[in-house]
């Protein structure tokens, strides 16, 4: 048996290190000013994918949608053992909510074409919604298992997995293809030293251009030659735009997102402040008022 495994991963801001300047005046998040990391549970998804490949054979392809800098998590995926990586990037994706995101990812999955198992982290730490996985499964018309702890077996076109439920667990058997969202029930392997040496040179087309001074290098022949060389050494990170994946412009980015942000309020940062409350009725009353005003108490 050989499994075609897709992992959908996300580069996320490290929400534990958000500073006050992380918000723009218009209330959107200033992602450029934030340190970014590989979404933790997506690392668990990748680890599970690599384990499945080791047990059953096959190929692991990691896909991410994000800004050009998100190529960093694809390089890390190669360091861990991924076979192929794809960056979906386009300014037109900006402002996407989970519906527009899952639509975009479904276009990419359809372009890839062959998949038996799709793995995602249970949720990303920037939004904690856990929505994109199930939405992607629906768009591909395949079943989903959520909160997966382990895959027990894959045989005869079926996969058996143990999943968390509220207050317990279920062992579920599902036909392939299937989408799994994965919890942190495994330990993601570290990047391999030899693989780091090998894949640190992996680049997207944009990165290759930038390395050579951008537009000045747009000599089609030279570029094609270098691309060919990199591909031969498996150092090529595919870069797909909205048009490349055949996405309907009305269903991506802001136009494709039904949810709109009306208002953003900053919360005083954890650990950033300390207020001494006097042991008086008035001081405690003020505290309660403050907590109610900030939606902390209702």
């Amino acid at each position: 048996m050989s499994l075609n495994i897709l992992v959908f991963a996300k580069q996320v801001p490290d929400t534990k290190n958000v500073t006050g300047k992380a918000m723009k005046d218009d209330g959107t998040v200033n992602r450029a000013a934030l340190p970014t990391i590989f979404n933790p549970e997506d690392l668990n998804a990748l680890e599970l994918a690599l384990q499945l490949r080791e047990r059953f054979g096959g190929k692991v392809t990691v896909v991410t949608m994000g800004p050009p800098a998100a190529a960093a998590i694809l390089r890390h995926s190669l360091f861990m053992g991924a076979d192929e990586t794809i960056l979906i990037t386009d300014r037109k994706f900006a402002g996407a909510d989970t519906l527009a995101t899952s639509y975009t990812l479904s276009c990419a999955a359809k372009k890839i074409g062959k998949f038996d198992v799709i793995l995602c982290g249970r949720q990303a730490i920037d939004g904690d919604t856990a929505q994109v996985g199930p939405q992607l499964a629906e768009k591909l018309d395949i079943p989903q298992l959520t909160y997966v702890e382990e895959v027990q077996d894959v045989k005869g076109g079926k996969l058996r997995a143990r999943c968390q439920i509220d207050g317990g667990y279920e062992v579920i058997e599902t036909p392939l293809p299937v989408l799994l969202t994965v919890v942190d029930a495994n330990v993601p392997r570290p990047a391999g030293a030899r693989r780091i040496m090998q894949y640190k040179k992996a680049v997207t087309r944009s990165e290759l251009l930038a390395k050579h001074g951008g537009a000045a290098y747009e000599d089609a022949n030279l570029l094609a030659e270098e691309e060919k060389k990199l591909k031969a050494r498996n150092l090529w990170i595919h870069e797909w735009t909205a048009a490349d994946v055949g996405a309907d412009p009305n269903r991506i980015g802001l136009p494709g997102s039904p949810t709109k942000v009306k208002q953003i309020q900053s919360v005083v940062l954890a650990g950033g402040t300390y207020k001494d409350i006097a042991l008086t009725d008035a001081a405690i009353k003020d505290l309660v008022h403050e907590l109610v005003a900030e939606h902390i108490l209702s």
Binding site: D128, Q131, Q135, T174, L279, L297
Partner: protein, 341 residues
């Protein structure tokens, strides 16, 4: 043409083994509140195997009509058949608002339904209100929209989200966020029986094994936690923590010292050898704040420390500190909370 009538407020009812999940009843109560503001009905969507007996409970909490779908294939949740039935109901009856618990089931079903319906879905709302919304894209002012308020970025911001597309406006809400109101046992409602039409292709995902036990407490999902430590002094002293938690709508937790003293059982223990919690508000009462305890609660969005020892380490990670005896502080807090505007 008559004016477009506004759809009803729907609540997805999660049940297991003949028991309705608390979060579903909490959402019925919130749904009642929203429906009263909008002048619509509250309708429940109940799927299961032989679950009709649950309807009177739903009526007593404020449901006007239950869409009841019963079938052996619906005994336990499975995304494909559940989505199919829910989508058929939405297309036929066009609800305005649809509330789901942010449980494992709700977080699987709601996104799948939203994707199929091309509806907006906001996860883990901590507050829901009715207000008007000016859609900058179209320049139109939309009256009576659902304001979906939720924390984001690890609790660093609070966002108000609005669904600017067609209905339903879908949200998930965690257990314990909305308050349950007193049921009215005499309250009546209707039952609309749903014809279940599933074919073999809808039911290919099989549950091979299932284990579930009733949790005595769900600290992981709690938004407000009141936690007591050794400083409560005695079992009787610890009862004050419980009273305080009840008063402000929080869950009771404890440090290991309080559990080891036998004042409360281990299910309530927060810390390295207990549960890790990330509530919106954690109130530490008489807890010194050992490294082990802090490991289980340091990521709480807001921490209030109450301790008679001004040098207790708990104050170093607290946002608000009250130095004083717990038995002096808590009654003042309860009084202030009860008289809040």
């Amino acid at each position: 043409m008559s004016k477009k009538t506004i759809g009803n407020v729907w609540v997805f009812i999660e049940q297991d083994g003949g028991k309705i999940a608390d979060v579903s009843l909490e959402l019925v109560c919130k749904g009642r509140d929203l429906a009263d503001q909008l002048g619509t009905k509250v309708e429940a969507v109940l799927l299961g195997d032989s679950v009709k007996a649950l309807c009177p409970t739903l009526f007593s909490y404020g449901v006007d009509n239950v869409f009841l779908a019963e079938d052996p294939n619906l005994k336990h949740y499975s995304p494909v058949p559940f989505t199919k039935i829910v989508i058929d109901l939405i297309k036929k009856h066009k609800p305005n608002i649809f509330l789901f618990g942010a449980s494992v089931v709700g977080r699987s079903l709601a996104p799948r339904v939203a994707s199929k319906q091309l509806a907006g879905l906001t996860a883990d709302c901590t507050d829901l209100r009715i207000d008007s919304f000016e859609d900058k894209a179209s320049g139109k002012v939309l009256p009576n929209k659902l304001m979906q308020i939720r924390p984001a970025f690890g609790g660093n911001i609070i966002a108000t989200i609005v669904n600017s597309w067609d209905d339903p406006q879908m949200v998930t809400v965690r257990e314990g966020v909305m308050k349950m109101t007193e049921p009215q046992p005499d309250r009546k409602g209707e039952i609309t029986t749903v014809k279940v039409e599933l074919d073999a292709a809808d039911c290919l995902v099989a549950i091979i094994e299932r284990f579930k036990e009733e949790k005595s407490v769900n600290l992981k999902g709690a938004q407000i936690i009141v936690s007591g430590g050794y400083g409560m002094g005695s079992a009787a002293g610890f009862a004050l923590v419980k009273k305080f938690a009840e008063a402000i709508g929080g869950q009771v937790a404890a440090s290991r010292a309080a559990v080891d003293a036998g004042w409360i059982d281990h299910d309530h223990q927060v810390g390295q050898t207990g549960v890790t919690v990330r509530p919106r508000l954690y109130i530490a009462c008489g807890i010194s704040g050992s490294v082990q305890h802090r490991a289980g609660m340091a990521e709480s969005a807001k921490i209030i420390a109450i301790n008679s020892d001004a040098n207790a380490p708990i104050f170093s990670i607290a946002h608000y500190g009250i130095v004083g005896r717990v038995e002096d502080v808590l009654p003042k807090f309860i009084k202030a909370y009860k008289s809040r505007a």
